[in-house]
């Protein structure tokens, strides 16, 4: 087990060396936060109580979302993008002749990245937003614990999805197409384009049942205290998707290594 911890810690440290990327990323998030607040203010002014959010919920959603996009990896993450490239180039061979499990290895790498981005820049947009707007902050140790758990689970769900996308390169020669499709699905169903609560009827129900909902929408709702079925059900929902995705991931890994050809000499 020690090796997974060791590589996770080193991945954390690696991302900590990208200082300019971190700063400019947080700045971009903040700018987008203001733009989105403008849009959301108009929207919730027109339709007060839209999706069960009040104005303060909607604005808090914006700033949380901006902080969490990177750590959760809504647009994809450097780590799993690298994995996809390794599959395409055949470099993956190097990972496969190591005495480590491929998925656990990349999970550790990804968690190291996510933890750095969560701790160092995750809260930055929220702090800026809180100066300007009246945002919601949770109270109570238990809620904070649930939020922390929800965030970690969200990152794990996201990893499960991104891992499968990266492995698709074993079967599909040009897996960049898969990556683009995954990006569109992720942007829409995670609640990045609009909070999923605003979608009515079966579209909303469907969107909120997808694994992408478990990445971003669910943890934010835990913060806001707006999970339709309560916090327990929300965490179980995330856990369910993690089990499903990691099982498929494990299957795909064994299948890929047994049946599939590694590119290049």
């Amino acid at each position: 087990m020690g090796v997974y911890w060791a590589i996770g810690v080193r991945s954390f440290r690696r991302f900590s060396t990208y200082r300019i990327a971190t700063a400019s990323g947080a700045f971009t998030n903040t700018v987008f936060g203001f733009i989105l607040c403008g849009i959301y203010l108009t929207l919730w002014h027109e339709r007060p109580g839209l999706g069960g959010y009040d104005v303060s919920d909607a604005l808090t959603f914006v700033w949380l979302q901006q902080g969490l996009l990177m750590p959760i990896g809504i647009f994809g993450a450097t780590t799993t993008v690298e994995l996809g490239e390794r599959v395409r180039s055949g470099e993956i061979a190097v990972d496969l002749y190591r005495p480590t499990h491929l998925m656990l290895w990349w999970l550790s790498v990804d968690l190291g990245r996510a933890m750095f981005q969560l701790i160092v820049r995750g809260g930055a947009p929220l702090l800026v937003g809180a100066f300007v707007f009246d945002l919601k902050f949770p109270s109570g140790a238990l809620t904070w614990l649930a939020i922390a758990l929800g965030l970690v689970l969200g990152i794990l769900v996201s990893f499960g999805l991104r891992y499968l996308v990266a492995l698709s390169g074993f079967w599909i020669t040009d897996s960049r197409g898969t990556e683009h499709l995954a990006l569109v699905l992720s942007l829409f169903f995670s609640g990045t384009v609009l909070p999923l609560v605003v979608f009515p009827g079966w579209i909303g129900d469907f969107a909120r049942a997808t694994p992408w909902a478990a990445t971003l929408q669910v943890p934010i709702d835990i913060w806001l205290g707006r999970n339709p079925g309560g916090v327990g059900a929300a965490l179980l929902f995330q856990l369910g998707w993690i089990v499903v995705l990691l099982l498929i991931g494990q299957l795909a890994t064994s299948f890929a290594t047994l049946k599939v050809v590694i590119q290049g000499g």
Binding site: A6, R14, A93, L96, P99, G265
Partner: protein, 318 residues
Amino acid sequence: MAVIELSNVSRAFTVTSRTGFRRTRREVRAVDGLSFTVEPGEVVGYIGPNGAGKSTTIKMLTGILVPTGGSIRVAGVDPSRNRLKLAKRIGVVFGQRTTLWWDLPLKDSFAVLQKMYDVPRARHRENLATFVELLDLGDLLDVPVRQLSLGQRMRGDIAAALLHDPEIVYLDEPTIGLDVISKARLREFLAQVNAERRTTIILTTHDLDDIEALCSRVMIIDHGHQIFDGTLAHLRASQSAPRTLVVDLATSLPPIEVPGATVTKVNGPRQHLTFPTTTKAAPLLAEIAANYPLVDLSVAEPTIESVITQLYTPTPTS
């Protein structure tokens, strides 16, 4: 007990190529009915022209590629079924790829490897100290891998592959792109590791000096078939690559006539003659000296390159 055993191993790839809307499938037999065994402590040079199937063989030996036919046993187990278990007992270097972590200082890569292979700390320190000294890595330990030159990185990769005292090491073109001095140093290092630790080494290369310096045994593969297996001396002797005799005469003459040899080139008073390995040189010389104004001469043995080139391009059989 053989440490590596292949019997009748094949690996086919299906290659699909597309021309317009047509898709054609073609089967490439990268390795075709390969059988050999390797004993512990052997250093085997595994050579062959581009596309011969060397890398494919190595991939099957490490377990990351499953053979489509035949059976492989490495250290007593089937590599593809026991890939993770076997990984602890082998070391791999693919010349064009790196095991090291691009953004980490070299020493961090080594620290991760210690954990990965569960190397006892004391042993790890001891091995690291040895390799740092032998491969001259001291100044490089704090440098991120992406800033290393090719030769420096390769030295790091070799150390990384050996830190966990593997029983078998596969080196796929480890000297590719290295300068003469780095190559020599690497060969010396590998020879020493093999001598001191009895590590079995399988080495593929296009540099025959690697083979001459290191390998007690050469295996040649072409189109997935084994075409030679034996010592280097044996390889030289087995082939009837003609020897060359260069004679300098007192004057320019038309091509001289000597039974058992043929003139291939005339260059003023200097003439080049070739004769088969089966013919003795001394009687030829006597013959020439008796009939022509001989001033000087030299006999050239076929180079190992020419021997192998001859093997790669088989003479058409009638």
